[in-house]
Structures are given as structure tokens and as C-alpha cells.
């Protein structure tokens, strides 16, 4: 009964939404409202104003830097929430990752993961540092690092992977994304400009382009490292078992 009512409701909603879609402007038309307003200014001036070839990166980090700063704060708060709910592992205590699968990982899988993970991390570094000139950026690279550590942890277990990335390192880098944004914003204030504008009036004009590029890279690296560490910490908090096996020597 409940299912029938739900299905009727969903079908009514779908008909309504599809009716709206049928009356929307045709997709891909250059005359669409989405393609005729602010976008042309972004596309034409982005390269000279933000000094990034990738307009998406320019929009995220420069034109809408405040938005991205707030978003970075959101993932930091999500991590804080997860740790408040599940708790963090304590230093000096070995935490177990109980493998509930029937078959333990074979030698082939272990060797492959050991071989592949460094290359994944290398690729993520490329994604982070090349985010201005090609598709990519801090969030994507950070997600790739997090994904590589998820692969590693599923095969080798929590103990092995938390030895690779100790609690100290994670705890100090989790705020890197937020810190990067605030640092660059504060440096902009010291340079005589506005918060997060990347343009410093007190610096010679000829140095401006390279200054903007370096500050953008700094923010990207901060976002990448911070995002990766947040993902890894959330993963560790989720798979951590309550039982503590033995205190470390």
C-alpha cells in the first residue's frame, strides 16, 4: 500500500518535471540564457585577470574564492562531526581492522596494490600541480590520494596504513585546506590588496602574474593535502574497531 502511494507520487512528480523540461530552452543552443550572460566575460577576461589557463580553476579559486573557502570549511566540519560521532584512535594504541571477508587477500592482489599505489599518488600530485593549465586541481588530486589510501587500507588493513600516515601527520595536515585559503587571504591584506584577490598593489606590476600563479598553486596544494587527509581520517574513523588489541610498546 505504502509502495503504491509512493509510486503514484513519484510518477506525478516525474510528469511535472518532464513537463518543465519540455518547456525549457533547447540544450546546447548558444542563445540560451545560461550562455549569454556573465559567462562571456569570464571566458574572455579570465586568462588575463586570474593568470590561469583553466577557466574552471580561475572561477573556483579567484572569482569565487569565498565560496570555495566556505566549502573547504564544510569538509573540515564534516570531519569534525565524524570524529565527534565515532571518535579518533588514540596515540600509542594499536587499532585492529577486522577482516570479515572469507578469503584473505592473495599475494597477487597485495603485490599489485603495493606496485600501483605510488603511481596513483604520483598522478594525484600531477593533478594538483597542473590544475591551472589542464583539467584537475586540489579537490580532484586530494580525492585521488584518498582513493589510493582506501585501496591500500582494504588490502593491508588499518594498522599497516596508519603506520604509513601516522596520526600526527594527519592531525596537522587536516586543516591545510582552510589554512591555505586564510594564509593567502591574509598575505593579500598585508600586500595592500583585498582578502583573496591575489593582486598585491605593493608589489611591482611586472611580478604580479607569477605572484598570482604561485599563490594559486599554494592554495591548490593546501586544498589537495587537506582534502586527502580529511578523506583518510574519515575512512580510518569509520573502519576502526572498538576493541583495542594491545598497547604499543
Amino acid at each position: 500500500m505504502k509502495k503504491v502511494v509512493a509510486l503514484l507520487f513519484i510518477v506525478a512528480l516525474a510528469v511535472l518535471l518532464l513537463y518543465v523540461v519540455a518547456n525549457m530552452p533547447p540544450m546546447g543552443d548558444p542563445e540560451n540564457p545560461t550562455a549569454t550572460h556573465v559567462i562571456s566575460r569570464y571566458l574572455e577576461r579570465a586568462e588575463e585577470e586570474t593568470h590561469t589557463e583553466n577557466v574552471v580553476t580561475g572561477v573556483i579559486l579567484n572569482y569565487r574564492g569565498y565560496d570555495t573557502m566556505g566549502e573547504v570549511t564544510v569538509i573540515f566540519c564534516a570531519l569534525a562531526g565524524v570524529l565527534a560521532v565515532l571518535g579518533r584512535e588514540r596515540r600509542g594504541v594499536i587499532h585492529a581492522f577486522v577482516d570479515r571477508s572469507e578469503v584473505p587477500s592473495s599475494v597477487i592482489v597485495k603485490t599489485m596494490v603495493r606496485f600501483v599505489v605510488p603511481f596513483i599518488i604520483l598522478f594525484s600530485v600531477y593533478t594538483i600541480l597542473h590544475g591551472e593549465t589542464s583539467p584537475g586541481g586540489g579537490f580532484q588530486g586530494g580525492a585521488i590520494i584518498g582513493g589510493s589510501m582506501i585501496i591500500f587500507t582494504t588490502i593491508f588493513g588499518l594498522y599497516e596504513s596508519s603506520r604509513r600516515i601516522p596520526l600526527k601527520v594527519r592531525a596537522s595536515l587536516e586543516g591545510a585546506a582552510v589554512m591555505g585559503f586564510f594564509l593567502v587571504g591574509a598575505l593579500g591584506l598585508l600586500g595592500g590588496g583585498n582578502f583573496l584577490t591575489y593582486a598585491w598593489p605593493r608589489v611591482a606590476r611586472s611580478l604580479q602574474p607569477s605572484l598570482v600563479v604561485w599563490l594559486t598553486v599554494l592554495v591548490e596544494v593546501g586544498v589537495g593535502l587537506g582534502g586527502a587527509m580529511v578523506l583518510i581520517s574519515i575512512l580510518f574513523a569509520m573502519i576502526r574497531e572498538e576493541e583495542e588489541i594491545a598497547p604499543a610498546p
Binding site: A78, V82, E242
Partner: protein
Amino acid sequence: MRLLHNYHYAAAMVLFCVGLYTVIVRRNIIKKLIGLNIMETSVFFFFVSLGYLDGGIAPIHAGAADPARMVNPIPQALILTGIVVAVSVTALALSMVILLYRQYGTLDVDRLMREEEPEAAEGGKEE
């Protein structure tokens, strides 16, 4: 017909309805979360396809790329933000689900609503 030409939008709407149906009908909390993620994905899909341009190129000033032919970069930038927020929401929700399962020993919403005391749950761990 406009609906067939806008098939990206139509697909996003259908995906949204599938996600909403999952959220309403499924009793397992994790499946409800999967439905929520399907809904989020449909919104991202709709938004990114709003910025599509016929014969458009990626919004990257490489070589002699013509700005007039580039697709709209703003939906892509906004959706990048949206994806990160969706991941945050999912992570927080999943951690609460883990805690619920530890307390009550079940993921079924109907049974969770009936349970009053954590001690009364069968199979639940004592905290």
C-alpha cells in the same frame, strides 16, 4: 519535440525520481543514503548539462582556443563545490549509521523507530 532534444535534462529528472523513490520506499538506512546520493548526482548532471554548448570545447585557454566556443565554466565550478559537500554529508550520515547499528543492531528504519531502549535491542552491543 523539445523533450527529446533535451534528453539530458529528462534523464536527470528521471534519475531524481528514482533516487526519491529509493529514499521513500526502502527501509534500510544505507539504501536510503544511496537514494540520496542518486538524487544528488541527478542534480549535478542537470546542472552541468545546463552549461553544455553544441560543438563546445573545454574552458581551457590552451593554444588558439576560441572563447566563444567554450562551454560554460560556472556550472562546472559550482558542481565541484557541490560534490565536495555531498561527500561531506554522506560521510557524516554514514558515521551516524555506524553508531546507530552499534547501539541497536539493526539498520531497518521501522524497527529503529519501535526500539525505545538500546538495552532492549537484540544483538546490539552494550556500550
